[in-house]
């Protein structure tokens, strides 16, 4: 009977069946069924996602999956976005590229996030992969326009080049001209992060002209408003467009040209950019507004009345990003308009215009968010900066939006209590985790005691990522989270009174997570060493830029701590200010 079953599905059939299984989780499950399924699966896995580039070595990936066509890698911890990770920490992609160059000649897609990418890496990509199609560098750094020129010149069938939020060294604006005349394959181009001199507009125009499949184009701030019409007329098939600078003196001919160009884009659904927006030019968008599903105004200095006018023309807006600016503001009134017009809204992000100011400069409070929670039943994802909050408001939001999957609230002043009762905001966040049963990501702020962590540990069963700052009273808080949150993958903590006890008591939990970041907390060097000693599957790294942690007593707290599971052992590219707690490393020194 067993024999019959083993021969009833030849490998080719299984391979074909597996080709329909795309998700990593499912593929991992498939590979655990039996040895032959493991073997078949590993030979036909085409896409690999590595959430922490130090969790595994390139060689290990290549050994297991020999036929990969697409790879995604993430480097630095999330708090690197807020300058908490010192320069030179790591996240270098070069070694990955070098090893893959030999092993994966048919590699077509590389997606990187928070990694250091040098021109050498880019040149190696350009040289090594004949079928290269997709390069996404999200929040990366370390490269210049020279590297981009190499990619442009060599990648004959490039489909996607996306540099969003990366830091690029400006050496020459002519890299775009390196795309050969024969390159007509571009589908997506995002150069929004580039500075003033990094783009030759005429080269851009010619490129857009000869790429009939271009669907997504994000320009940089250097491209002026008068040039937008030229671009749009060459690419009326665009679905997703990011303007450059959206400021100019109002001139009727420029306006009508722009409005005409926008109206010729019948497929346009998503807009972004709008640096320095001049409200008088916003009506040029009205013809496409009824089709808009996504609007990113996080760089737009737009006032509430103008926003209200614009939004009233966009009933199907599903994803909206705002930035509130000094003197120009969305305010609660703008959000109330949004709540009444945009019934399908799924994601809302409200940024502060004056993040370092002490007094509120705009009339944006918790009321705006409450209004949106009431009016937009499909709301799933929230990122909201404000200066005051109440437990009552949070409870209302939680009850109105039980489908929230991501809730990130930043009350600008740390340890701000409920402004009505002066209580901690434990109950409010408790309501969020209790009512939003599918919550996967949560960021806390305001005055919080250990109680909020009790709620999170009790109710946050699907929580995968938690960000904590200036919260809690004792190790009990951390213990609640580590012992209660079954799905926790990423935990990042700063400026909290969490020490050794909870960490050591829940050491095994750390092996089930991707990573833990703790900075300005109270974890001692001794505890770090102990963890490194007892938990061989973890890399325990201490970051201290001022002096080696062992030059102080063992009970002394470490400055920054990053713990992550790894099958690759301690890394070899640590800078002088990062210390590995791995015993083996110590013995070598």
């Amino acid at each position: 009977m067993q024999k019959e079953m083993a021969y009833s599905f030849p490998d080719e059939v299984l391979k074909h069946v597996f080709s329909f299984i795309q998700s990593d989780k499912d593929r991992n499950a498939v590979s655990l069924v039996c040895k032959s399924w493991y073997e078949i699966e590993r030979w036909c896995r085409r896409k690999v996602f590595i959430g922490n580039c130090y969790a595994v070595s390139p060689r290990m990936v290549i050994r297991r999956f020999p036929e990969v066509r697409s790879i995604e890698l993430k480097g630095k911890p999330h708090f690197a976005d807020f300058n908490l990770v010192p320069d030179g920490w790591g996240g270098y992609v070069l070694q990955w590229i070098a090893e893959m160059a030999g092993a994966y000649p048919w590699l077509g897609e590389i997606r990187l996030k928070r990694m250091v990418v040098t021109d050498e890496s880019l040149e190696l990509i350009a040289k090594s992969f004949k079928n290269f199609k997709v390069l996404v560098l999200f929040s990366c750094e370390g490269f210049s326009t020279d590297g981009l020129a190499a990619i442009a010149a060599s990648c004959k069938n490039l489909r996607e080049l996306d540099l969003r939020e990366s830091e690029v060294d400006d050496l020459s604006g002519h890299w775009l001209a390196q795309f050969p005349e024969t390159c007509t394959s571009l589908v997506s181009l995002n150069i929004s992060c580039l500075g003033s001199d990094e783009v030759s507009f005429s080269a851009l125009e010619r490129l857009v002209d000869r790429c009939p499949n271009l669907r997504s184009l994000q320009l940089n701030r250097a491209v002026t408003l008068d040039k937008i019409a030229n671009i749009l007329r060459r690419a009326p098939q665009l679905v997703d467009f990011g303007t450059g600078n959206y400021a100019a003196e109002l001139q009727p001919d420029v306006f009508s040209n722009l409005a005409g160009a926008f109206s010729s884009c019948k497929e346009l659904k998503s807009l972004s950019g709008f640096w320095d927006v001049v409200p008088a030019y916003l009506p040029a968008l009205y013809s496409i507004c009824p089709r808009l599903t996504s609007l990113n105004l996080s760089y737009a200095t737009i006032q509430s009345p103008d926003l209200i006018k614009l939004v009233s023309h966009c009933p199907r807006l599903q994803r909206l990003l705002f930035l509130i600016q000094v003197l120009d503001y969305v305010e609660d009134s703008g959000l109330e308009e949004l709540a009444s017009s945009c019934k399908d809204l799924q994601e809302l992000r409200v940024f502060p215009s004056d993040p370092f100011g002490v007094e509120p400069n705009v009339s944006l409070t918790e009321q705006g968010l409450v209004a949106v929670s009431l009016g937009c039943p499909k709301l799933q994802s929230v990122l909201y900066f404000c200066r005051r909050m109440s437990n009552a408001a949070l409870v209302t939001i939680a009850q109105n939006c039980p489908n929230l999957t991501r809730f990130r609230l930043c009350i600008i002043e740390p340890k701000t209590p409920d402004y009505l009762t002066l209580d901690p905001l434990d109950a409010g966040f408790g309501a969020i985790v209790e009512h939003c049963k599918d919550l996967r990501r949560l960021s806390l702020s305001g005055l919080l005691t250990d109680h909020v962590f009790e709620y999170i540990g009790t109710y946050g069963k699907k929580l995968e990522m938690l960000s904590v700052a200036f919260a809690g009273d004792s190790d009990l808080g951390l213990h609640h989270v580590l012992s209660g949150c079954e799905s926790l993958r990423k935990l990042e903590i700063r400026d909290c009174p969490f020490g050794d006890k909870a960490l050591l008591a829940n050491a095994a939990k750390l092996e089930t997570m991707r990573s833990l970041w703790m900075s300005s907390c109270a974890v001692s060097f001794g505890a770090c060493k102990l963890l490194g000693q007892k938990m061989p599957k973890l890399n325990v790294e201490v970051i201290d830029e001022t002096e080696p942690p062992d030059s102080r007593p063992e009970s002394y707290p470490v400055d920054k701590l990053y713990i992550y599971k790894s099958v690759a052992g301690p890394r070899f590219d640590m800078p002088p200010f990062v210390w590995s707690m791995d015993e083996a490393v110590k013995i070598l020194h």
């Binding site: 930035l323 400026d495 109270a522 800078p575 200010f577």
Partner: protein, 157 residues
């Protein structure tokens, strides 16, 4: 990439480990906080890189918004004060340069070195913070200073 792991390693040389002067003054503050004190004491606590926003977004605000933050600046011995837009400056160095030019003197602040023989040529820069205390300029990160400063004073040494 080697680093000393024995406790006899020398940490005298300031060039041995890369650190900015900002980091070192912050470390001094956290040292004080940690030595015998619990972390949960009241402010001032070190609060760099807050609120949690990506640099690009925060910098955009400073570049393209038209907001200003004028503070009064008095020099000791001169009854008439000046006004200075702090938001027109990017860093302490920027501010000191402006003040030295405005008041035709050499300014002492947290990062400055002084020729002790000619102290009469120097003035000390202090600021009044939210709590009404006069503090030396330059100890805390620039952004934190901006949120705390009420006015500036330049005093004789």
């Amino acid at each position: 990439m080697g680093r000393p792991t024995s406790s006899s390693s020398s940490i005298d040389s300031p060039n041995h480990f890369a650190f900015s002067s900002t980091a070192s003054s912050q470390r001094d503050l956290t040292t004080d906080l940690r030595l015998g004190l619990s972390i949960s004491i009241a402010p001032p606590y070190v609060r760099e890189q807050w609120p949690p926003m990506k640099a690009a977004v925060a910098e955009e605000e400073h570049e393209c918004n038209s907001s200003t933050f004028y503070v009064k600046v008095y020099m000791e011995g001169i009854p008439i004060g000046r006004k200075l837009d702090l938001l027109a400056h990017e860093s302490y160095y920027d501010l000191i340069r402006t003040l030295e030019h405005m008041f035709h003197t050499n300014i002492i602040w947290a990062e400055a070195e002084m020729d002790r023989d000619h102290y009469e040529k120097y003035h000390v820069l202090t600021y009044e913070d939210k709590e009404g205390d006069w503090m030396m300029v330059g100890d805390v990160p620039w952004e934190m200073f901006l949120s705390a400063v009420r006015r500036l004073k330049i005093s004789k040494c």
